[in-house]
């Protein structure tokens, strides 16, 4: 009887033990086509004074292409990479025919249930900072 009670107690204790479930952070998949939903220059909103509607940024595998170019981090197609596929903080663009790569901060928050990309860069004078907010329009 005594052994039985000990066994029951051990069983109950085991049942109470918290089970840790490791949920791996998913790889950030930005492949697809992105469009600009907001653009600022030195904090001034340009979204409604410049036609950004036709600009498209396509990510596929490790390459990117741009349709209807506007001032951007790069001005032609090439390759891209994230510094960490699960926890990216930087994105690198390497334009074809250009020796050096451009690295910029990669901000990938969820807004209204959707991932967006915020990119900050200076395509002209280094004193002028632009921020584009991009939204994915297809996979």
């Amino acid at each position: 009887m005594k052994n039985y009670l000990v066994s029951v107690c051990l069983l109950l204790l085991a049942a109470c033990r918290a089970t840790e479930i490791a949920i791996p952070e998913p790889v950030k998949n930005i492949e697809g086509t992105w469009r600009i939903t907001k653009a600022t220059r030195n904090g001034t909103d340009l979204t409604n004074v410049v036609d950004f509607s036709k600009f498209r940024l396509h990510f596929q595998n490790n390459t990117y292409t741009i349709d209807n170019l506007l001032p951007f981090i790069v001005s032609g197609k090439g390759t891209w990479s994230l510094d960490d596929p699960q926890y990216p903080f930087k994105i690198t663009f390497h334009q074809e025919g250009v020796d050096s790569s451009v690295v910029t901060k990669f901000d990938y928050p969820i807004t209204d249930g959707q991932r967006i990309i915020n990119l900050v860069f200076s395509p002209g004078c280094i004193n002028n900072t632009y921020q584009y907010t991009l939204e994915k329009i297809s996979k």
Binding site: N42, V50, P71, G124, N127
Partner: protein, 325 residues
């Protein structure tokens, strides 16, 4: 008994509130500054400030900000020193990146709070220093602090209203207190003389406003016709158009003086009679990958193109040179 209970609560509440609403008083009494300096020479200014402490603080620093044209590169070309009534003197250094007040780095926080002050061209920046030494301050302490600022002016001729800001690292831009523990002053128009190029006037309204003031042809550019500055032949015009020539590095002159929807300058809402056009120069002038645009010459016209307004309301064009300083 009930009365005594509520009286006690009231007293306690008042004591707590008194502690909260008065942390310290900061005064920025005056800033001594010359009226003009030659381009590339040092501007020496002295801020006369006073701190009256009403709540002890540990490891506190004096924080000083200046609002200056970006072209001065003041972060690299400025030194600051200070003297106090009884806490000695010292030097100040640029606040390291990552130090926040109100959730932002200090320059961004001051930009949000004060913008560009009374200046009219948005080509200015806040540069913020703090004392190298930290201080443990006690309730009742009173210190007169004079801060000497030496900053090298840029190469351009300009008129600008400089800004000066004083605070402490502990209280930052805290607005909770009844007497804000920070202060700012914007001075009258200061002039840089004997420099390069046309006068850049941050102080006075201009017929044509370019934003950004410094840009290259791969920036997005906004040009505004401020029709409220003076009566011009375009006063009362229904529509204003942008008439421009671009001069490239290989000697090409690209003419875009056509009155059409793409060159129309819509009137901005709520800011008087201001007409603006925003464009990407490389696209607007369709230059090749090998070309760069050096400068623009432009007028504002009516729908017919017959009425033109140029620099200073004359027949000469406005000139914009692409540069990055």
């Amino acid at each position: 008994m009930k009365h005594n209970k509520y009286t006690g609560i009231l007293k306690y509440t008042l004591i707590v509130l008194a502690c909260l609403v008065l942390s310290r008083c900061v005064y920025l009494n005056e800033v001594d500054q010359p009226s003009e300096v030659k381009a590339g020479q040092d501007l020496v200014a002295v801020m006369h400030t006073r701190f009256e402490i009403a709540e002890a603080r540990a490891a506190d620093r004096i924080v000083v900000g200046i609002l200056v044209p970006k072209s001065w590169n003041a972060a690299a070309n400025t030194t600051m020193t200070y003297t106090t009534t009884s806490m000695g003197s010292g030097t100040m250094v640029k606040i390291p990146a990552g130090v926040l007040t109100n959730g932002k780095e200090w320059p961004a926080a001051l930009r949000e709070r004060y913008g560009i002050g009374p200046n009219l061209l948005d080509d200015m920046e806040w540069v913020v220093f703090w004392s190298q030494t930290t201080y443990d301050v006690v309730n009742g302490d009173k210190q007169d602090v004079d801060i000497k600022i030496v900053t090298k002016t840029g190469p351009e001729n300009m008129r600008v209203k400089l800004g000066y800001f004083i605070a402490s690292s502990s209280d930052g831009l805290n607005d909770f207190y009844t007497n804000r523990p920070y202060k700012a002053i914007f001075k009258d128009c200061f002039e840089v003389t004997d420099g390069d190029g046309d006068l850049v006037d941050f102080c006075n309204p201009q017929l044509a406003i370019t934003d950004p003031n410094s840009s290259l042809d791969n920036d997005i550019m906004t040009i505004t016709f401020n029709a409220d500055v003076v009566n011009t032949p375009l006063t009362g015009a229904q529509d204003v158009y942008f008439c421009v020539k671009a001069y490239t590095n290989d000697g090409q002159v690209i003419d875009r003086c056509v009155q059409q929807p793409g060159s129309r300058m819509p009137k901005a809402a709520g800011v008087g009679n201001r007409y603006s056009i925003t464009f990407w120069p490389r696209q607007y002038f369709n230059v090749s990958a090998n070309q760069t645009i050096n400068r623009l010459e432009y007028y504002f016209t009516d729908a017919s193109g017959n009425i033109k307004v140029g620099y200073g309301n004359t027949a000469s064009p406005f000139v914009y040179t692409f540069k990055c300083k």
